[in-house]
Amino acid sequence: MNWLANTLTSSIGKKLLMALTGICFCTFLSVHLAGNLTLLSGSTMFNSYAAHLHSLGVLLKVAEWGMLLLAAIHILTGLTLFYQNWRARPQSYELKKRAGGRTLGSATMPYTGILLLAFVIMHLLNFHFVDKSQTTIYAIVAAAFAKPIYVVLYVAAMIVAAIHVSHGFWSAFQTIGANHPKYMPLIKIISLAFALAVGFGFGILPIYISMGA
């Protein structure tokens, strides 16, 4: 199994780990967004979505632990890449201009990533690790977004998430080697569309709830 360790710890191997876990998170985001959009149909719909989700029982637990593992890989590998890439140029340029390849997303990947980690921790504390025995999940959400500070924080976090996936999505395909003259233009469009869907889809919910509540 030495070969596997050698492969995964190589520069391309680390990128593969980032790409595969990243694609998993994109899938998760799609499912999460679809679920959350039930908020737009009111409390009954959202509470019943949550009830259905929790009726998965042990499957949900498996998914949660799986996500935690994926997150650990994505975060640790990402931080390693960040450190190694910083070290690869000990003396930076006095004057360096961009040539047009870099985008807002690509230039800020490690920073948006770290911000998202902070957000996810806050998010779990807000809605996951709370006592749900006496109340409904909708009530918890509505109570949170009655505070303007949470609306601002959540909307800001979704902008950060949109920037992160705008690069991450197409980059994952490039990394796994799926750069094809016929499909790459489409992948880049989907990448942008997905970023916008994440930004707007999740972003409008706190605003909607704070206004409706």
Partner: protein, 254 residues
């Protein structure tokens, strides 16, 4: 019609690898716009030498854009801002009278500064030695069409083979990664039947050597492709990734 312009250079001066470098302001008056960038430096160096000062050390060889020896970061851009050109093919007509030009060496941990603008790019040689070749038994020349190669594959291989190994990709990369270089060297063989027998060993050996030399990790910034004087495409990087995965997960090479 030749024109003459006056320039101010801000050149990185560094005695050796150990010493801390600094920018020096040097005036370059009366420069013909027909000169190449390196000829301009020659003129400046002649003046410096006559004045008893140390000339600016810079790399160069063919001066016709094919050897890959020249290169510096000019006004923040490797090989200057002109697309698809090496520094030796950048002409002074692209500058204006009164311009100040900043000139810095390529910077990366794997490229140590030797002096001023000259950098040690032997890390690239090490990568080539690790697998950037094919093994053939010498003998009589084969019939021209004994090995059929589709035209489009031949073109792609030629595009990759255009890489002159100048290091601008590393210089341009925010991570100082050498992926564009390695991907071009792997692709030129991977696309042709002559390169297939050793493809798995080559991909693994070259990537490992690249990592060992201390280059950064590619994060698909695509700055390399924008700065490459031979306009090598990052589709080669995707091909390198495919070759590496095929070799790592699908071949017996360890």
């Amino acid at each position: 019609m030749s024109k003459h312009i006056n320039l101010t250079l801000k050149v990185w001066r560094q005695k050796n690898q150990k010493e801390k470098g600094h920018f020096e302001t040097i005036s370059a008056p009366d420069i013909s716009t027909e000169m190449s960038f390196l000829e301009m430096l020659d003129v400046v160096n002649e003046k410096l030498t006559l004045a008893g000062k140390e000339p600016i050390a810079f790399d160069h060889d063919c001066r016709e854009g094919i050897c890959g020896m020249c290169g510096a970061v000019v006004n923040g851009r490797p090989h200057g801002a002109l697309k698809g050109t090496t520094l030796c093919q950048l002409h002074m007509r692209h500058f204006n009278d009164g311009d100040t030009i900043a000139i810095e060496p390529f910077r990366a941990m794997a490229f140590k500064i030797i002096k001023d603008l000259t950098v040690d790019r032997s890390a690239f040689d090490k990568i080539i030695q690790a697998g950037g070749y094919i093994s053939v038994n010498a003998g009589g020349a084969q019939d021209a069409n004994a090995l059929p190669v589709p035209q489009d594959k031949a073109e792609l291989a030629m595009d990759a083979a255009q890489c002159i190994g100048c290091g601008a990709c590393v210089a341009a990369c925010p991570n100082a990664a050498a992926m564009l270089f390695v991907s071009a060297k792997v692709s030129q063989f991977a696309l042709l039947p002559q390169g297939r027998p050793e493809a798995a060993r080559r991909a693994i050996a070259m990537v490992r050597e690249m990592d060992r030399q201390g280059f950064g990790n590619c994060t698909n910034e695509a700055e390399c492709e924008a700065e490459c004087p031979k306009q090598i495409s990052i589709t080669n990087i995707a091909r390198l990734n495919r070759e590496f995965f095929k070799a790592s997960f699908g071949s017996a090479v360890k």
